[in-house]
Symmetry: C2
Subunit: 330 residues, 2 copies
């Protein structure tokens, strides 16, 4: 920048003015400076700039996801990116893998880079470690799961209502022995969904048979194995509710292998890519990650822009998509 100023025959401050498009520069000087910038191939140092500027904004936000490679997370990520990029803001992304330590490590790395804000899909349950960060002025929005011991904005899915709708759908098709596969109970959404299952059975006066419930099932392979177990029971279920993406895939895989996919009904929570190509197609309670991402990013930027109002808690509704597997009658 010093060299640019020298070549253009102006002061440092004038170059700064041109770069920041401040109005108080004559056209003649401006074009001289622009020329010098191009000739010297000067690149503005965004970091040094934000260090000195009074707003201290880095135009960077941090996004903590469960895993950037999983479809729900990456759909969120993409929507956040689009909202951010429209404001010239870049996104630092990281995967927690449901690991509390990794969550905190990543968030510490984000904040030491002075991100303007954080969008967090939490793995841990106690976010009081973020209190001082908030006091320091970092905005934050929680997505998919609520913050623990911290008052902050959240954008959630209505897990309980969604599950009730899915389980109710199976009951409406005559099922009374409905198997349940649940993810790790340390995940808030998993416990909420399980509660929805309990409630809907109770509402239909169906007794809960613990044999039909498999909790803390994580990943495709374990879901596959758990499905096989359920179907080997002396009184096997006539329908399955799988409470997560990968569990749905695992269960579907097992049903296909056992050639039971046309006999046992299946409803899954969260949509499955290609779910409509299978025979039968997989009926799901779809979440809406794009909407969640967009709302989260918009809310974050409202906070970054200075909105100090009380915390907002948005619940994004789910949608039942019927494709066949959930409409198999007992």
């Amino acid at each position: 920048m010093r060299e640019v100023a020298a070549l253009a025959g102006v002061s440092l401050k004038t170059v700064s003015r041109v770069i920041n498009a401040e109005p108080a520069v004559s056209d003649e000087v401006r074009s001289r400076v622009v020329g010098a910038i191009q000739r010297l191939d000067y690149r503005h140092d965004h970091g040094a700039s934000s260090l000195r500027r009074s707003d201290r904004k880095t135009s960077t936000i941090g996004v903590l996801l469960e895993d950037v490679a999983n479809p729900f997370s990456s759909a969120l990520h993409r929507e956040i990116e689009d909202v951010a990029l429209r404001r010239g803001v870049l996104v630092l992304a990281g995967s927690s893998d449901e690991d509390e330590a990794r969550e905190q490590q990543l968030i510490a790395a984000f904040t030491s880079r002075r991100v303007d804000g954080l969008i967090i899909v939490p793995a841990s349950h106690d976010h009081s470690y973020l209190l001082s960060e908030r006091r320091a002025g970092t905005s934050m929005v929680f997505v998919d799961r609520p913050p623990g011991f911290l008052d902050a904005d959240s954008i959630l899915t209505d897990n309980q209502a969604g599950t009730r709708q899915g389980v109710g759908h199976l009951i409406a098709h005559g099922h009374r022995r409905i198997g349940y596969l649940g993810d790790l109970m340390t995940i808030t959404t998993a416990t909420e969904r399980y509660r929805g299952y309990e409630q809907e059975l109770a509402a239909a006066s169906i007794g809960l048979d613990p044999q039909l419930v498999r909790l803390n099932v994580h990943g495709i392979d374990r879901a596959d194995a758990a499905t096989v177990e359920l179907l080997k029971l002396t009184e096997p279920p006539s329908a399955l509710f799988t409470s997560q993406n990968l569990l749905t895939i695992g269960a579907s895989r097992a049903l296909h292998r056992l050639d039971l996919h046309r006999r046992i009904a299946l409803v899954g929570f969260d949509d499955v890519l290609l779910g409509d190509l299978l025979e039968p197609g997989i009926t799901v309670i779809a979440q809406d990650p794009s909407t969640m991402g967009r709302k989260a990013a918009e809310q974050l930027f409202r906070r970054i822009d200075g909105d100090q109002s009380a915390s907002v808690h948005l619940v994004v509704p789910t949608r039942l998509i019927t494709r066949g597997s959930g409409e198999i009658r007992r």
Copy 2:
């Protein structure tokens, strides 16, 4: 930091030494400083630090993908993240959407934040705009597609050989009229794959019927429509080769709707999640995005660590996964 120094009764420089774990600090002083850091809830400013340090490293890299939400991109992304995080490096990610302008905008945003390196899945074909950036010391590795007018490391898939293997597989099952769906011909990989199709037909002395070829098909819906068109020909193909993920899905969808999925053979380039659940399962030429991501990140960090040797061009092989759809005989 000034406050920490005052509270601990030491100089600024000593605090800096403690933070950077420099050896020349007595245990007693160190613990006083650590105590002060905790009491004052001090957070190190990574940006100011890298501005002053002589290596000028930001411990941040930029990753330009086609779309963070597409499975190939996000698998790459995840692998890069893991390699980076092991070194305490964070990842800025962006989606080009195959748009040259957006590629350049994002890369400019990355470099103005002084990233240590770039991993690029290029959308554009002329990367001479990166020459000055390279001269300035930014390391860069290209993935999936080669750089244009720039000598740099690349990690590519063997598109031509993979396509030949897939088309050859169909020929081996008796097909001679093999439809081809290709993505935008502006994408390097799309042209390479098409060339593989041409070559394999020629090698089997099968004349190329232009009616069977649909190029510049982008996205699921257009692939679906193009498939319908091909099957309506007076002499329709008995097999299809779809040269990209989404095209495979679109074609499969069309085949299912027309109830031809057991009659028309299908081989796709790039694996499809759930491809094994369909009936028949989808036979694909699988790429290996995880390996590509890992190799790219490892190569990038070698460069960042000072490796000045000649450009490396790595070709990651593809793998034929037979699941049924490609083994339908004419």
